[in-house]
């Protein structure tokens, strides 16, 4: 034990809150359960800040950041070597994640006091929020990959519960099922990956699994399957789990639909925390990716890069503001994945790793802010569609200012947070592969365009007539907005490389103006295009659409990926495979069972007359049986 052992309470407090709120249920008044949940989260938040302070600053800056096992408990003991532990591991990225999760979660807790007011199931909502916070915190502090997997599934479940929070709405139910099934499918790959890598290493522990010199990896290199070594397979499968949770192409389809959940949930789970779990997973396993599975790491980079531009293109055509933000999330997570994929290991080479974590950090701030701002707008306008909005800047000054700050941050305009992290990613990509750099560079312009398209349409644009004049949201909602707004403005100024680096050794980053200036220019260009098209209501967007014709429709329908999935699952898998299996099940398996049943039933029907209740009849049967047996023994067996 050491002086960090208190960190176990950071995840435990939300867990107890979940138990209290979940069991108490309707017995609490809504406001009581809301405040209880918020206080619990507040305590976790302060503990996390304290941990970050102690972890990073107690030794003074410039030291190598050690990995600390703050708490470890053997949970399932199979043999001496094989056991599953539950514990708390502190290293730069987990401490950073603790801060991110508790900050956003606390903001969402406060915000929901206003946003969810009057909704049925308010208590249930807070119970689920606590469950989610617990699972997510447990995930990031996992000491071994199996603990991570357990909490990985728990966040999946709480995400499912929260997406389907309005369970009377069929679309929400469908979305929650879709999210759960898609991520579960990806988790199958993750589990197989865990089993492969743990089989060779004989342990689940990260301290062994992430040690590149471990002799087991030599064996894994030697073992090959279908042209790739076991280690590449394992890492690709683990990445598949991460891609599912982080909604990377082609497993991204669940995230836009997940917007059916309440908006604070989208901010917390589907923007800031859960969806970056995949990035976190890759970062956690990074040494192995880098030293032993460079092919898999390259795949990570390409998947991330492709998703980022793919989602950015789709985001330009959508009208539902939450969906735009969802696609923007996909795009930004693609950036993080790409940054990890292009990163080297150690010191300056680990720039991509640091940039990825940095972007994760700043993205959590501004994307949570964007979602909460969108929630504030939806709260005022009672619609998700941006065609029904316009000129909102007059009605909602706080929302407007904070939303603008977040838009500037995501567009990478200095000195807002997104500029610094995105710049580092672009530098890392530039050093690795010029094509990737170009993709991300174009994506940066697209990002600026679609965010400001949203901003101009919603806050400027036409003078919309509202049935009820929209009004600024209550203080419980604006305070988190302002707090996160400050985060979006200033988070970029944190010298992140002092804290987080691939090998724990702090290093200095220098901005390369040759990369930074063009990226600012393309960001500004995107903003200006959006300004021209959407500042005032005009015919120009329609002309552009008419000019793009078919390609616009394709993009508007999200490249028909959902339809392809439906085709593959319903037509090919359901018709081809499932139906024949179902036929076999129904006719052969069920048929055998029913056959046995029918046979027994018929037989008993036929012989039930034997049970007459007549004593003497029974005696007769008995005697006849005896005689028959006697005759049989005498004449057949002698």
């Amino acid at each position: 034990m050491n002086h960090f052992s208190y960190t176990i309470w950071i995840p435990l407090i939300p867990m107890f809150m979940f138990l209290i709120l979940g069991l108490g249920g309707e017995k609490f008044k809504p406001v009581v359960s809301g405040i209880l949940g918020t206080i619990g989260m507040g305590v976790s938040f302060f503990l996390s800040l304290l941990t970050a302070w102690l972890y990073f600053f107690s030794q003074g800056l410039g030291h190598t950041h050690q990995t600390i096992i703050a708490f470890n408990n053997v949970w399932l003991n199979f043999t001496d070597k094989l056991h599953i532990d539950l514990g708390v591991l502190l290293d730069p990225i987990s401490v950073m994640m603790l801060v991110v999760i508790t900050t956003v979660s606390l903001m969402v807790h406060i915000y929901s006091l206003g946003y969810m007011k009057g909704d049925t199931g308010f208590q249930r909502f807070y119970a689920f929020l606590s469950l989610f916070s617990f699972s997510m915190l447990g995930l990031v502090v996992a000491t071994n990959i199996f603990q991570m997997y357990i909490f990985w599934e728990l966040v999946g479940v709480s995400s499912f519960l929260l997406i389907g929070f309005y369970y009377t709405k069929p679309s929400a139910v469908a979305a929650s099922k879709k999210a759960f099934i898609v991520t579960r499918f990806a988790d199958l790959g993750f589990l197989i990956g865990i089993l492969i890598i743990s089989y060779y290493n004989k342990t689940f522990d990260f301290s062994v699994l992430t040690e590149p010199n471990s002799p087991a990896f030599t064996t894994m290199h030697a073992t090959s399957f279908m042209g790739m070594s076991a280690i590449t397979w394992a890492m690709l499968l683990i990445f598949m789990g991460g891609a599912g949770k982080s909604a990377m192409f082609p497993l991204h389809i669940w995230l836009p639909d997940a917007m059916e959940g309440p908006t604070p949930v989208s901010a917390l789970i589907h923007a800031a925390t859960m969806v970056v779990a995949g990035v976190y997973l890759v970062a956690r396993m990074f040494p192995i990716f880098y030293f032993h599975a460079p092919t898999a790491l390259e795949a990570v980079a390409w998947v991330g890069g492709f998703t980022s531009i793919f989602a950015a293109i789709i985001a330009c055509t959508q009208f539902d503001i939450k969906r735009i933000l969802a696609f923007s999330t996909l795009s930004q997570i693609g950036y993080m994945m790409l940054a990890l994929g292009v990163s080297g290991y150690g010191g300056e080479d680990g720039l991509g790793y640091m940039a990825s974590m940095f972007h994760l950090f700043t993205h959590a701030m501004f994307k949570a802010l964007l979602f909460l701002g969108a929630g504030s707008i939806i709260h005022a306008v009672h619609s998700n569609l941006m065609t029904k909005m316009g000129s909102l800047r007059k009605y909602m000054p706080w929302t407007h200012i904070t939303f603008l700050a977040a838009c500037l941050a995501i567009s990478g305009i200095p000195p807002f947070a997104g500029f610094f992290s995105k710049d580092e990613i672009l530098v890392a990509a530039y050093h690795h592969n010029k094509v990737m750099w170009l993709i991300e560079y174009v994506t940066a312009g697209l990002t600026a365009f679609y965010m400001f398209r949203l901003y101009f349409v919603v806050f400027w644009g036409k003078n919309t007539e509202y049935e009820h004049a929209p009004h600024e949201s209550p203080a419980t909602m604006t305070i988190p907005l302002v707090f996160l707004g400050l985060g979006s403005v200033f988070a970029g100024l944190i010298p992140f490389s002092e804290f987080v680096s691939s090998d724990g050794v702090p290093f200095e980053t220098v901005s390369n103006p040759l990369i930074a200036i063009p990226s600012v220019i393309i960001g500004l260009a995107g903003i200006i295009v959006a300004w021209i098209l959407y500042k005032k209501e005009s015919e120009m967007p329609k002309k552009v659409i008419a000019w793009m014709r078919g390609s616009y429709t394709t993009i508007y329908h999200k490249f028909y990926i959902d339809e392809i999935y439906i085709f593959v699952t319903k037509r090919i898998i359901f018709n081809g495979i499932s139906q024949s299996i179902a036929w076999f099940d129904r006719h052969i398996v069920d048929g055998t069972m029913t056959g046995i049943g029918t046979l027994i039933e018929r037989t008993s029907n036929n012989i039930k007359g034997l049970q007459s209740g007549q004593l003497q009849q029974y005696a007769m049967y008995f005697a006849a049986g005896t005689i028959a047996l006697a005759l049989a023994f005498i004449y057949l067996f002698v």
Binding site: G613, Q616, M620, A623
Partner: protein
């Protein structure tokens, strides 16, 4: 006194008694007579025991003891059976074997 009577005669008597008992058990309606038929069966067995004991192992006593035990058991069985029959009489108002078929339900 039994000199000159062969074993076969005893066995014929006991066999006849046995099948009379079985027949009575099957065809009599009255529970008391059914009980009496059982006594017939048991006693036919007793005759066998005694006869075999006398003719095959005259210097031993096992057959006699078996017969005594069977008689004891028969007495116990008769008392239990009569208790049951009395209860049947109270319950069904008669002691016909055909009346008593409720257990099948």
């Amino acid at each position: 006194m039994i000199e000159g009577i062969p074993l076969t005669h005893f066995l014929i008597v006991s066999t006849v008694m046995f099948f009379m008992g079985v027949l009575g058990f099957f065809i009599r309606k009255n529970l008391i007579t059914i009980l009496m038929s059982i006594e017939l069966i048991l006693n036919s067995v007793n005759i066998n025991f005694l006869a075999f004991n006398r003719y095959l192992f005259p210097d031993q006593l096992q057959g006699h003891f078996f017969a005594l035990i069977v008689v004891g058991i028969a007495a116990a069985e008769a008392s239990v059976a009569i208790a049951i029959i009395i209860n049947i009489y109270r319950r069904f108002g008669g002691i016909e074997a055909e009346q008593v078929s409720e257990l099948k339900n």
